[in-house]
């Protein structure tokens, strides 16, 4: 039987690695019986959704392209190196 502390760890770790079958069973069994851990696990999941959105909102990546100047500078450097 997992403690609430262990369950709080798994609520986080399931976002970083695949839990084993044994861990999953123990985790969900605990959540069925423990309202507080269920709540905590939901909050951690909300947090993940929030950071996913934060990343999109910052949007500093999806459409980023090399600037013309950077592209020319790199091209020049590469030509030097090639010759």
């Amino acid at each position: 039987m997992l403690s609430c502390k262990e369950v709080s760890r798994l609520a986080s770790e399931r976002l970083d690695r695949d839990l084993t079958l044994r861990e999953k069973v123990a985790f969900y069994m605990h959540l069925m019986m423990c309202r507080l851990c269920l709540r905590y696990a939901r909050h951690v999941a909300v947090l993940r959704r929030a950071t996913d959105q934060l990343r999109l909102r910052r949007g500093f990546v999806a459409d980023a392209t090399l600037s013309k100047q950077a592209r020319e500078r790199i091209a020049r450097k590469l030509r030097e190196d090639l010759s």
Partner: protein, 235 residues
């Protein structure tokens, strides 16, 4: 053999399972450079190095920007990567796609960069306050009820919520904040974070991230979610 090549060889390993791949897509962790599984066997040849910048420059740049958050550093890393690729192109094994091979070299350069940057602000995780011991008694049970969050879906629609979230992330202890950012905002895999922050074992990182999430939950509870108070939707 150069370190760049050894990374390149590593990236030539078979793709992850379909499920992991799908979830990585969903999580936005795979960008334009990725190639679906199923192209194996045939040995590839590199295209003319003159075309690399046009073909792969933006993908490499996005990869570097995502991980460093620093546009000018990202440009430098693209340049370093292409030059390193040029110098080691004779040793290209032909197992990986050209772009995968280039990304492999870039990945190595990004990790080196992060490692140097973080050495300058080295602090010990051991000094992080242990948020878990505030919440659990000696038998590992919650000391106090976990407060409910009212209407989290509504929060995710509001600019002010994200401002609060960013402040809470900034308030994390330095190195655990760094680990959390690399994981959740820069989308690094856990092995990359361990390498970048010189964290000994994956398990150490899991503990760090778990505590970071617990601290963030507390911070958001305090500064955003006031539990109950007549709200209809709470969880």
């Amino acid at each position: 053999m150069s370190s760049a090549m050894s990374i390149a060889l590593k990236t030539a390993t078979p793709w992850r399972s379909g499920l992991a791949l799908r979830s990585a897509y969903r999580r936005g962790r795979i960008g334009a450079w990725s190639t679906p599984p199923g192209h194996a066997a045939m040995k590839r040849v590199l295209s003319d190095p003159e075309t690399w910048l046009d073909e792969h420059g933006d993908s490499l740049y996005r990869f570097a920007l995502l991980r460093t958050g620093d546009p000018s550093k990202a440009e430098d890393l693209v340049q370093d990567t292409l030059i390193a690729a040029l110098q080691s192109r004779d040793r290209y094994s032909g197992n990986a796609q050209e772009r995968t091979w280039l990304i492999g070299i870039l990945k190595h350069k990004v990790i080196d960069h992060l490692r140097i940057r973080d050495r300058e602000v080295a602090t010990d995780f051991a000094t992080d306050p242990d948020v878990e011991s505030e919440h659990f008694n000696s038998r590992g049970r919650w000391q106090e009820a976990v407060p409910a969050w009212s209407n989290p879906d509504g929060a995710l629609q509001q600019d002010a919520f994200f401002a609060t979230l960013e402040r809470c992330i900034d308030a994390l202890p330095q190195r655990s904040g760094e680990a959390f950012r690399l994981r959740e905002l820069h989308g690094l895999e856990t092995d990359e974070i361990c390498a970048a922050l010189a964290i000994g074992t994956a398990n150490n990182l899991f503990v760090i991230l778990s505590r970071a999430r617990m601290s963030l939950r507390d911070c958001l509870t305090e500064h955003w979610f006031q539990a109950g108070a007549g709200e209809t939707e709470s969880c």
